[in-house]
């Protein structure tokens, strides 16, 4: 499963990132924000219009906005079902 398919409110660990799907600047920005292999993330919010883009991801005590296209490059393993916390 990739990050964009994660159900709203559920947590996951990023298992792998296909950096070739991202332009270098985007890849660097994502890594700088800690969105990298091994990171623990929660899908917190989604955009409203057309295709529910972008996504807001909670990582640590931070919330990061990114687009579906970026999330698609990240393979995740679910750790918590929605509302489990």
């Amino acid at each position: 499963m990739t990050l964009d398919q994660l159900p709203l409110g559920s947590s996951a660990r990023i298992a792998a990132v296909d950096w070739t799907l991202l332009v270098p600047e985007e890849a660097q920005r994502l890594r700088a924000l800690g969105l990298d292999e091994g990171a623990q993330v929660t899908l917190a919010y989604r955009g409203v219009f057309l295709g529910r883009d972008p996504l807001a991801i909670e990582i640590g005590r931070m919330t990061v906005a990114l687009r579906r296209a970026h999330a698609r490059a990240m393979t995740v393993e679910t750790t918590h079902a929605p509302q489990a916390a």
């Binding site: 700088a32 924000l33 800690g34 409203v48 295709g51 883009d53 807001a56 906005a65």
Partner: protein
């Protein structure tokens, strides 16, 4: 030999609260300029050490790393820290600013800075917000882990500032140690270490319900979020559009009164005319923008300081992505419906330089309030006041002109994104900062700085152009009995221009009106009134009389072409001046002038030829 003054620099991630700390440390004594060759702002101020010695403090742009820089802002930060930035002495002391509630993230960048082995102090900022979230930290433990002094601060409450100044003084005088011998630490290793240090610095952590999470649940709610945003934007738009009007009118009236007074006091002469119609009118043309700029920036600075701006961008991102922009472009473009000048100034919040440039270039296509007087006169004169189904025809035409501008802007954005401003867009990746109450002092300082930058940078140019236009319209002097405007340089230019605009249905009178309208679009109306010798006491009457004159002299096709022209024509020197200031050179305002005049000519032409073909010529 006298020692040069000590330089200290604030470095840190975006949203670490650097600017608030900078304002608290330097007060209002700040200097804002651009770094040479880039559009990145350099903010510097004077901070006093405990012994009274002044230190130049530089507020560096927020950055996520020194080695993999992804924006001009981050590149400037890297160069300043490394001592490679032109026009900036290498800082003697680095002050790393950390957000206390986001240590794990911010310590990654901090490690990179610390590895340089320079005299460094850490400001553990916003400790109050961390405590609000149930996180209590141990600065001593963090200091031991990092090997540099760690000072807890709350910039907005002025807590810890004296301790920080003392630490900066001590760091400067300390013997500089050699850089740490760990040059090849990888990012995952740094992240691991950051995690360990952050955990080690935590005294207690209770999982209190975080306030910002609760606010996001409402403000980013799929049903509630957008209506809240639109309600807020409606207020902003209303404010810029109508609250500013009485002030702008008062400023206009004030400068007219000064002009009248000078005319009454000084005997007629060319020098007097230069003073009244050139200098006083020129200063007035600059000041008149201040109400709109101040009102718009009051809202924008508040939205940025509270953290809502990032949420607004989040909500609007999908719509803007359609034309290759991001959610951050939405508010500058919306503001441009009132006036492109504050709209273009507000593009500073767009982090991606290509996105920002595209937004600046299409901002003049939003139908600003200065076009309304032109549209109103022409529509009233040529479009019959009757109903087409449920809507009035005049209103429909006005609406069409607005839509034409919006569609034009979307198409231009799409084209630019694939040509001139093409490039690996950073897309839309950003942190949603924590909600915070803005301080009045920071807001006031920000407003003052925006206003000052506008007056000094754009103002000087607007003033110069006003005076230059006056010269064009008043020299050479007319012979007795001859019309001054026709005899002037502008009159001769109009003769040449008339040949160029003849194919799109414009006569020489229009060509002549277009020249002074370079100052501002609405000048076209008064200038046509002068040409057709319409003299009336009040504006309404002038509009009606001018309308009658136009109807008698222009064909409907010409009138429609004239409207189409003003949808695109960049006839506003203030927009050009502010674009020059914001893009740091003549290249992009030049491009803007060329492409907008090109489009104006094309669309006015297309409108004219179509209308003539339909038998409206």
């Amino acid at each position: 030999m006298s020692r040069r003054p000590c330089v200290a620099a604030l470095v840190g991630n975006p949203n670490a609260g650097k600017s608030a700390l900078f304002n608290a440390l330097t007060g209002a004594r700040q200097k804002i300029a651009n770094y040479p060759g880039v559009t990145v702002e350099r903010k510097a101020g004077r901070m006093l050490l405990p012994n009274g010695e002044p230190v130049e403090l530089v507020d560096l742009p927020g950055s996520y790393g020194l080695h993999a820089t992804t924006s001009p802002d981050e590149e400037v930060t890297r160069r300043v820290v490394m001592g490679e930035q032109e026009g900036q002495a290498r800082p003697d002391v680095l002050v790393i600013v950390l957000d206390s509630s986001n240590l794990e993230q911010h310590l990654v960048f901090a490690q990179e800075v610390l590895e340089l082995g320079r005299p460094t102090v850490v400001a553990l900022n916003m400790v109050d917000l961390a405590e609000r979230d149930g996180l209590v930290l141990d600065p001593a433990a963090l200091s031991a882990a990092l090997g540099v002094p760690v000072i807890p601060t709350v910039a907005v409450r002025r807590r810890g500032l004296d301790d920080l100044a003392a630490a900066v003084a001590a760091a400067r005088d300390a013997v500089v140690e050699q850089p740490l011998a760990r040059p090849h630490v990888t990012l995952p290793e740094r992240r691991m270490l950051a995690h360990e240090m952050a955990q080690g610095a935590i005294l207690s952590e209770t999982r209190k319900h975080r306030i910002h999470a609760r606010m996001d649940r409402v403000l980013l709610h799929p049903w509630a979020g957008p209506p809240i945003l639109f309600a807020l934007l409606f207020v902003v738009f209303q404010a810029v559009f109508s609250w500013a009007t009485p002030f702008a009118d008062a400023i206009d009236a004030g400068f007219s009164a000064i002009g009248d007074w000078v005319r009454a006091e000084i005997p007629p002469s060319l020098a007097r005319d230069l003073l009244t119609d050139g200098v006083i009118a020129g200063v007035g043309a600059v000041i008149v923008f201040l109400p709109q700029i101040l009102i718009l920036f009051f809202f924008i600075l508040t939205m940025e300081a509270t953290g809502y701006m990032a949420r607004a961008a989040f909500l609007m991102d999908r719509l803007m992505a359609g034309v290759g922009l991001s959610g951050r472009s939405f508010i500058p473009l919306l503001s441009s419906f009132a006036c492109a000048v504050p709209g273009i100034m507000s593009t500073r919040s767009i982090t991606d330089p290509k996105d920002r440039l595209t937004t600046i270039l299409i901002a003049p296509l939003m139908t600003c309030s200065a076009r309304l007087p032109v549209y109103a006169v022409i529509i009233a004169a040529f479009i019959p006041n009757r109903m087409v189904g449920p809507v009035g025809l005049q209103g429909l035409v006005l609406f069409t002109l607005y839509v034409a501008g919006i569609i034009g802007a979307m198409v231009v954005a799409l084209v630019l994104r694939r040509s001139v401003t093409r490039g690996a867009a950073s897309g839309f990746i950003m942190e949603l900062p924590k909600y915070q109450l803005p301080t009045v002092k920071d807001l006031a300082l920000g407003l003052f700085q925006r206003a000052w930058v506008f007056l000094r940078r754009a103002g000087t140019m607007i003033f110069t152009v006003t005076v230059a236009l006056w010269v064009l319209l008043n020299f050479p002097r007319a012979e007795p009995g001859q019309d001054q405007v026709n005899a002037s340089i502008a009159g001769h230019i109009a003769n040449g221009l008339a040949v160029v605009v003849e194919p799109i249905g414009f006569n020489r009178d229009i060509a002549l009106a277009l020249i002074p309208a370079m100052a501002a679009r609405e000048v076209a109306v008064s200038s046509l009134a002068t040409t057709y010798a319409v003299g009336a006491a009040d504006e309404d009457q002038q509009g009606r009389q001018l309308g009658d004159q136009l109807k008698a002299r222009w064909s409907l096709a010409t009138a429609l072409a004239f409207l189409a022209w003003f949808v695109f024509a960049p006839q506003c020197m203030s927009t050009i001046a502010v674009t020059r200031r914001e893009t740091n050179g003549w290249k992009w305002p030049g491009f803007m002038l060329a492409y907008l005049f090109g489009l104006a000519y094309l669309f006015a032409g297309a409108t004219y030829w179509t209308a003539v073909a339909l038998g409206l010529g």
